[in-house]
Amino acid sequence: MQAYAAKLINLIESKAENIAKQWAADVMKHNRTPSYHSLSKDLVVEQGVNFYRLFRQMSLAEVPYEEAKSFSWKYAEEFYQQKIPLHEALYALILMRRHLWLYAEFQGTFVTALEKQQAVESLNRTILMFDYVSYQVTEKYQQLTMEGVNKKLGIVKTFLMGKLIGGMKNTYKLAFMAVLLIAAGILTYYNHTAGKVVVFTHLFYIPIILAAVWWGKKGMLVPILLAIILIASHSLFLKDAPFTDDVIRAVMFIIMGGVVGWLMDSVKKLEELYEPFKL
C-alpha cells in the first residue's frame, strides 16, 4: 500500500502488546465501558493484540472492507456472548483507535512537516479502517440479537404449531373442531349404548389440546362441551352405573383445557413481545 502509512503500521505491529495493554487499562476502568470492568485482563489484552496485529493485513488488503470482517464479526460475537451492550463494545473500539494514535504521538512518530503530512494521511486511513469495523460490528451485533430472538420465537412457534395446523385459517379450524366434536359425540353414544368399558375418553384430549393451542383460554368451550356430552350421555344411557369416574373425567377435561389454554395465551404474548425484533 501507500508508503505514507508504513511508519504507523510498523509501529502498531511491533508494539501491538504495549498498545493493547494501555488500551486494556483504560477500557477496564472507563465509565463508558462498565461491562469491561469485570472481564479478565488477559482476555481484554488479547483482544487488543489481535486487532492491532490484524491492522497491517487490513491496511494492505486490496479490499480492506472484506478483510475487516474477520475481526469485526469475531469481536461482535464475543461481546454478544458476554452480554456486553453494543454501545460499550463500540466505545471500546473507539478507545482502541485512540490508543493507537496516542501511542504514535507519544513515540514522536510524526515530527517534521513532511511527517505531519504523512500523519494526516495515516490518520485518514486509520479512521477509514475503524469506520468499517464500527459499521460491521454494529451490523453483526444486531444480526446476532435478531437471530437470538428468532431462535426463541422458533420455540414459541413450535408450541403454537405455527407451520402445521396452527397455520390453518380460522374457518378450517372451526370446521375441523366441529368434526372432532361430532366424532366425540358418536363415540360416546356408541360406547355408552353398547355398555363397553373401553377408555375412549382419552381421545377427547385431542380436540381439547387443539382448541387450547388455537384459541387459548377461549378454547375452554370445547372441554366444557365434551364434559356436558359425557355426563349427559351417562345419565341417559348408563343410569345404573356410578357417576364418579365420568365426573372425574369431565373435571379433568376442563382443568386440562384451562391449563393449556392459559399457557398458550402466555406463549402468544411472548411472541407478540418479540415481534418487532424479528428478522
Binding site: 463508558r32 451492550p85 453494543l86 454501545h87 463500540l90 466505545y91 473507539i94 485512540r98 494514535w101 510524526f110 512537516a113 513532511l114 505531519k116 503530512q117 500523519a119 494526516v120 490518520l123 485518514n124 479512521i127 469506520d131 464500527s134 459499521y135 454494529t138 451490523e139 444486531q142 404474548k269 407478540e272 413481545l273 418487532p276 425484533f277
Partner: protein, 156 residues
C-alpha cells in the same frame, strides 16, 4: 484550541447547505444506508445542515459530550422512530463526518505544509466529537429497545 480549528469550523458552518447536500446524495445511494434511499431528500438535507450549522458550538464547547448528549439523544429517538437500523444510523454519521473532511480537502484549506499540524489537530477534534455522537446514538438505541420491551411486558 480555537485558533487552529477555526478554519475547518468556519468552512463547515458557512457551507453547511452544500456539505449537507453532498452528504444526502451519498447517503441516498450508499449500499450501507438503505433506509435513507427512499427518504425525502429535503428531510435528510435538513438533518445534516442543522448538524453542520451547530458544529461550531459543539466543537468549541467546554463540555462537548454534554452538548452532544442533548442534541443526539433526540436525533437517535427520531431515527429509531423512523425505523432506521442502528448500523445505518451509525454509518450515516460516519459519512457526515467524512463529508466535512472531503469538503475541506476539496477546498484545499490545509494545503501549506505548515498547516498540516492544524489539519491533524482539527481532524482529531472532529473525530472526538463524532466518537461521542456515535456512542450516544448507540446507547440511546439500546435504551429504546429495552424500554420498548419492558413497556410491552408491562402491558401483558
Amino acid at each position: 484550541m480555537k485558533a487552529f480549528a477555526s478554519k475547518l469550523v468556519d468552512l463547515t458552518q458557512k457551507n453547511a447547505e452544500k456539505i449537507a447536500w453532498q452528504w444526502a446524495k451519498d447517503v441516498k445511494t450508499n449500499l450501507k444506508t438503505n433506509s435513507y434511499h427512499d427518504a425525502p431528500e429535503e428531510k435528510i438535507i435538513n438533518q445534516a445542515s442543522e448538524f453542520y450549522k451547530n458544529f461550531q458550538e459543539m466543537f468549541f464547547h467546554e463540555a462537548p459530550f454534554q452538548l452532544a448528549e442533548d442534541v443526539f439523544t433526540k436525533y437517535a429517538h427520531e431515527r429509531y422512530a423512523e425505523g432506521v437500523p442502528l448500523h445505518e444510523t451509525v454509518y450515516a454519521m460516519i459519512l457526515m463526518r467524512r463529508h466535512i473532511w472531503l469538503y475541506a480537502e476539496f477546498q484545499t484549506i490545509f494545503s501549506a505544509e505548515v498547516e498540516h499540524r492544524k489539519a491533524v489537530e482539527s481532524l482529531s477534534r472532529t473525530i472526538l466529537m463524532f466518537d461521542y455522537i456515535i456512542y450516544i446514538i448507540s446507547r440511546e438505541y439500546w435504551k429504546l429497545i429495552k424500554m420498548e420491551l419492558s413497556k410491552k411486558e408491562g402491558k401483558h
